[in-house]
């Protein structure tokens, strides 16, 4: 008997505070695929907001404790491309000596969710938890940071019960950018308007992303304009096999 893969789930701050249902779906999905899911206690945030705003001393302190938390993990699964990028790309440079070595080891074992499903588990076929047409927004850090465009698409194309269409300008930023969206809110919103116009032009019922930041931005805009289109995390369109109905993901906000 070969040992079941073990994965530690890094929920991320946005995932923990705002989208816990996404985390639940990921845990159930992974378990159904035979993965033993661990959840190291004491998680907070990867530190990307601190890092991107230039507060590198603080970011290093956060990195140090995150590296220690996940020290024993066989794999680390992250639901957001930007947080995965932070761990893989920036942690080692923030630390030194033995801590840096540990950070490098962690970097090699950390995977964004779609990458873990496709590249580590080799799974591409899932039943769709939503019907109709869906499209995909490339989050910047996943696409240009981790150079990942294929894994999410493979999963979406492989969905049983949904039709995948490409999003024009899908590789363009949604305008979130963390603190950018608060520092220059009008510019951030103007960029979002373009993105949402493209999304609506596809005729898709939902736009899928692999990053909680983009989802927060796109959901926020869609909900404010009363759009029927939903912005969903990848995990929300992959049925976890727990016998959920087609509308696995309830729309948030909107005109309700």
């Amino acid at each position: 008997m070969s040992a079941a893969p073990r994965a530690a789930f890094m929920v991320t701050c946005l995932g923990d505070l705002f989208y816990p249902e996404v985390g639940e779906k990921i845990v159930r999905l992974l378990r159904r695929l035979g993965v033993t899911v661990e959840f190291p206690a004491g998680q907070t945030c990867c530190g990307l907001p601190l890092f991107n705003s230039g507060y590198h001393g603080e970011a290093a302190a956060v990195a140090r404790r995150t590296v220690a938390l996940f020290e024993d993990a066989e794999h680390v699964v992250v639901p957001s491309g930007s947080c995965a990028w932070m761990v893989k790309h920036e942690y080692p440079g923030l630390l030194s000596g033995a801590e840096r070595t540990a950070a490098e080891r962690l970097a090699g074992r950390t995977h964004e969710l779609s990458q873990f499903l496709v590249k580590v588990l080799g799974r591409r076929q899932f039943r769709s938890a939503v019907g109709g047409r869906l499209t995909y927004h490339d989050s910047c850090h996943l696409l240009r940071g981790l150079h990942e465009s294929e894994s999410p698409r493979a999963l979406l194309r492989g969905l049983d019960g949904a039709e995948f269409v490409e999003l024009p300008g899908g590789d363009e930023c949604c305008g979130f950018g963390g603190s950018f969206s608060v520092r220059l809110p009008e510019v951030s919103s103007a960029i979002l308007d373009k993105k949402l116009a493209n999304v609506e032009a596809t005729g898709a019922g939902c736009v899928v992303a692999c990053d909680a930041g983009c989802l927060m931005q796109m959901r926020g805009g869609l909900s404010r304009r009363g759009s029927r289109v939903r912005a969903l995390h990848l995990a929300e369109v992959l049925a976890d096999g727990a016998g959920e109905p087609g509308s696995a993901a309830a729309p948030r906000g909107g005109a309700a």
Binding site: D16, F18, F39, T44, C140, C173, P185, G253
Partner: protein, 473 residues
């Protein structure tokens, strides 16, 4: 002397740009076109990716021995009878050009498009000294007529629609015409032809200078560059010191990717190799040739955090793909060089204080680094600039307090969990139908156009115990 800081805050400048419907229309059309053309050019040119790596390597190697290559360049230009001047600052560069104008009795200078001369604000200095500068690149000509400054590195009038240009020509030149680019170009051409013949001084920038041959290289599309370098008696080229390349072979690498990145052309229409003043037996060319090597903060950055920005070819590709530039255009940046690379160059020329706000005018989406022909990691350096702003305590104190508090919160899980509970209390009056539609203070900046999700009734961490139990069943 540094450039003057803009009078209004960045957010206000950006806001004005967003409300300018002409600007929005012009930017969308032009940048979308540039993006498509660049993509096609590289799609048809599979060796392009390897050449980008090679170009980057040449830039890096040249910087490592910049003193050597500059000396070689100077020797070879002087051997051909040209003069080379070193300008430590913008002020020095202006003085050098003014001295040449004065000594040669030049009353009018025709100019080919040059960001280096924009950087040193040469036109204002020439005017003050009684020398009339005439921009001869069509885009530059338009903005000079409009008393504006370039809003893009290669397309200075990108912010204007053809209708606006027709109105400008009617007002400034007394020529009523349809907004037809061809007709407008003919009008400009006729106006400029006279100037080429009258001018004593021709002023250009330089895209490259080849050290081993002493050749100054101009990459242009309109032919005005050739007129500027061959008709007037005196030619002065102003060039940043980092633009030197060792050999002609190196030059070919850059020429193969520059126009593709800038306009999607395989090559620009004109690539002019200027080899100093007219020599015996030659029929054209200036009697005097001067190269002004402009430092203005560059050499210091060879050992600085912005080193990579010295690789920049000034192609403008990063502007075209930048979601922020595409929304606010070049003028909102407030300095000579706009766009992602412009923020770095502004910091290099005017110090990190000048970009304490601009360093944040990026979502760090990385499209710029992707488009850059020499793969400058612009987002990385923007983060470095933000770090420098933080470390020098230039950032406003409320921001430092917020991020300091965030830092301690994220290091202490108990405090983090407490803040989730406090968040639920705080948000209670603002949640409507499962979303937060309005928040007070600076958080209201988010909710003016977007809903915010409330902190969940039970966070994931609070749900984990149940999930763990479910897993054991």
């Amino acid at each position: 002397m540094s450039e003057v800081a803009p009078a209004t805050p960045l957010r206000e400048r950006a806001g004005r740009a967003l409300e300018d419907t002409f600007l929005q229309q012009a930017l969308t059309i032009a940048t979308t076109k540039f993006i498509g053309l660049r993509r096609e050019a590289f799609d048809e040119f599979p060796e392009g990716e390897a050449l980008r790596d090679q170009a980057r390597a040449i830039k890096e190697a040249t910087l490592q021995r910049l003193d050597h290559w500059l000396e070689t360049l100077i020797d070879n230009i002087e051997r051909r009878g040209g003069h080379v001047h070193y300008a430590a600052s913008a002020e020095d560069a202006r003085q050098i050009v003014l001295d040449i104008a004065r000594r040669t009795g030049s009353g009018m200078a025709v100019k080919s498009k040059s960001m280096a001369t924009e950087e040193i604000h040469l036109n204002e200095a020439l005017e003050a000294a009684g020398v009339t500068p005439v921009e001869t690149d069509l885009g530059e000509y338009i903005i000079q007529l409009a008393h504006e400054r370039p809003s893009h590195i290669i397309a200075p009038a990108i912010h204007k629609t053809k209708g606006q240009v027709a109105e400008l020509f009617a007002r400034e030149l007394g020529r009523e015409t349809q907004p037809d680019p061809e007709v407008l170009t003919r009008i400009a051409r006729a106006e400029l032809r006279e100037k080429f013949l009258q001018a004593d001084l021709g002023i250009t920038g330089a895209n490259f200078a080849v050290a081993e041959t002493g050749t100054v290289v101009l990459v242009t599309n309109e032919g005005n560059g050739r007129m500027v370098t061959s008709l007037p008696r005196v030619h002065v080229a102003v060039m940043g010191v980092e633009k030197v390349v060792p050999s002609m072979t190196d030059l070919t690498v850059f020429l193969a990717i520059l126009a593709k990145s800038a306009t999607g052309q395989k090559l620009s229409v004109y690539t002019s190799l200027v080899n100093g003043p007219r020599r015996g037996g030659e029929l054209e060319g200036p009697e005097e040739f001067h190269l002004v090597l402009l430092d203005n903060g560059r050499i210091k950055q060879i050992a600085g955090p912005l080193r990579e920005s010295l690789y920049c070819l000034r192609c403008g590709a990063c502007l075209n793909v930048c979601p922020v530039y595409r929304q606010i255009g070049g003028h909102a940046y407030g300095y000579t060089y706009p766009g992602p690379i412009g923020i770095l160059l502004t910091a290099m020329l005017n110090g990190p204080e000048s970009v304490k706000d601009l360093a944040h005018a990026s979502s760090l989406c990385g499209a710029c680094a992707d488009a850059c022909p020499v793969r400058i990691d612009i987002p990385r350096m923007l983060v470095e600039l933000r770090k420098e702003v933080d470390e020098r305590r230039i950032a406003p104190w409320p921001e430092r307090v917020v991020f300091g508090a965030l830092g301690s919160l994220l290091r202490r899980p108990a405090l983090y969990r407490l803040s989730a509970r406090l968040g639920r209390l705080f948000q209670r009056p603002f949640v409507r139908g499962g979303a937060i539609r309005r928040l007070p203070l600076f958080l209201g900046r988010w909710t003016r156009t977007r809903d915010l999700p409330p902190v969940a009734a039970r966070t994931f961490q609070e749900r984990w115990a149940d999930l763990a139990r479910e897993g054991r069943r």
